[in-house]
């Protein structure tokens, strides 16, 4: 797996320099959240502007891993489809989340918000949950334990492979990549 080594949290300079199509190997902490956790996070923000875990400057990973067998840190842990989080993403970007990891394209609103709030959207390989789990060194539930696989986990990752999809200049790898390889039938 190739890629530029990047430590988390992402610095302002790093976010500024990232370009769509860059392959990265992330090391540091990620926070998992998918549908149900997003719903609660956004509710909590609209109630009192607070979150149960500090996500300012952090990177959210859309994932709901399989249960960890005894002796393992985590089960299979690949990305889930990001689209389902679109309608709940903007309040989190506004709050100060700086990176999102998932799979699949984002809504126009989210893409605009990424530019506005200077945050990046990254993709991990969907369906590579066993390989990605190897890059996770520790996992700890930090909120919403009752949600099971949808709880918020703090993950320590080492050289976790991702690709930059949307950078802060409004570029989109899904569009650019398809355009570059599209052929007339």
């Amino acid at each position: 797996m190739s890629g530029m080594k990047v430590s988390l949290p992402l610095t302002e300079q790093m976010i500024h320099d990232l370009r769509c199509g860059d392959q990265l190997l992330l090391s540091g902490f990620l926070y998992t959240a998918r549908d149900a956790a997003h719903k609660r996070l956004v509710e909590s923000l609209s109630k009192n502007g607070k979150l149960p875990v500090e996500l300012k400057g952090q990177v959210i990973y859309y994932a709901g891993p399989t249960p960890a067998p005894p002796g393992r840190v985590i089960g299979s842990a690949g990305p889930t489809t990001s689209q389902r989080m679109d309608s709940m993403t903007i309040p989190l970007l506004e709050y100060g989340v700086k990176g999102l990891i998932g799979k699949g394209s984002r809504s126009e609103e989210v893409k605009k918000a990424l530019v506005q709030y200077k945050a990046v959207y990254l993709a991990a390989t969907g369906g590579a949950g066993a390989l990605l789990a190897q890059r996770i060194k520790s996992a700890e539930i930090v909120a919403y334990e009752d949600l099971g696989p949808e709880a918020i986990y703090k993950l320590e990752v080492q050289e976790f492979p991702v690709v930059v999809i949307n950078d802060i200049n409004g570029n989109d790898l899904y569009e650019a990549g398809q355009k570059a390889y599209k052929r007339l039938i």
Binding site: G64, P67, G126, P149
Partner: protein, 280 residues
């Protein structure tokens, strides 16, 4: 009559849940290895390599290929000379799913009701399709089907005059709209004909055929090839990052239909196209 105790079915289903989620089929591995040679995009090749490494890690370490261990879809071909004893067949299948998903630490993704959405906690109920066939065997096919690619699947009641070109357009439209969401490279199951509901089932069954096995009907074998080439001209590529390999294969299943109808269903499956089969 051959008597089979349904407990045997429970045991087999439980084992198949684990087997399917830890082992990518040889046909898919072959397809991906071939794709690696043909992919021109460097990041696309990297993705395919990751998927191949993932399969190795999964079977070696017993970690599920993908965290979405799916709907538990089960096809049962029941020989009409078999007499099932020892309990309720449906319950025996669900018991197998419950045991398998628990034993192998697979994710429980089923909710009790589409709107109430309480997790059933054991990945049941299974989605079971029965077929009565001649003979005295039971063929069980277990298919864990991921939600990401299922969500991108579509059905359309085409007009008969739209014919082949209508079908090609619909398949391309569906794959294009799915983009990266269905985790390409995908396997595409196309059902053509039948009624509204049989058409969707045909599309799912089309996914079960091994990748390198060509359609037994010459016309459909040719259409599959042309469809696969057309899909791979879309440029979506592995994981949607842009590239040549969007689909590993297109499989078609066709059935007789009504003079007024041309139902067409496209069931997308991700590269984690998992299915195992046993004959008892």
């Amino acid at each position: 009559m051959r008597r089979i105790n349904v407990e045997v079915i429970t045991q087999n289903i439980a084992e198949m849940c684990c087997e399917a989620n830890f082992n990518l089929g040889k046909d898919i591995i072959e397809g991906l290895t071939e794709a690696l040679k043909n992919e021109e995009s460097p990041v696309g090749r990297d993705v395919i390599q990751q998927i191949l490494n993932n399969a190795e890690i999964s079977s070696r370490d017993g970690v599920p290929l993908c965290q979405d261990t799916g709907f538990a879809v089960v096809f049962i071909e029941l020989g009409q000379e078999v007499s099932l004893v020892g309990g309720d067949l449906d319950e025996a299948i669900n018991k197998g799913v419950r045991e398998g998903y628990h034993r192998c630490y697979l994710r429980k993704s089923m909710v009790n009701d589409p709107l109430m959405r309480d997790n059933t906690g054991d990945n049941t109920p299974a989605v079971v399709h029965y077929n009565i066939v001649p003979g005295n065997n039971i063929k069980i096919t277990f298919v864990p089907k991921g939600g990401g690619s299922e969500n991108m699947s579509r059905i359309k009641m085409l007009k008969p005059t739209e014919g082949e070109s209508g079908i090609i357009d619909f398949v391309l439209e569906t794959v294009n709209a799915a983009g990266a969401n269905a985790c390409p490279p995908v396997v595409i199951g196309v059902g053509i004909g039948g009624t509204f509901e049989t058409c969707a089932l045909l599309a799912k069954k089309a996914l079960l055929r091994p990748l390198q096995q060509v359609n037994s009907n010459v016309y459909y074998a040719d259409l599959e090839k042309r469809l696969c080439m057309a899909v791979n001209c879309l440029g979506i590529g592995p994981q949607g990052f842009g590239g040549r390999i969007t689909a590993l294969a297109v499989h078609i299943e066709a059935a007789p239909t009504h003079i007024a109808c041309l139902p067409t269903a496209v069931n997308l499956n991700c590269h984690a196209s998992r299915h195992v089969q046993r004959i008892l």
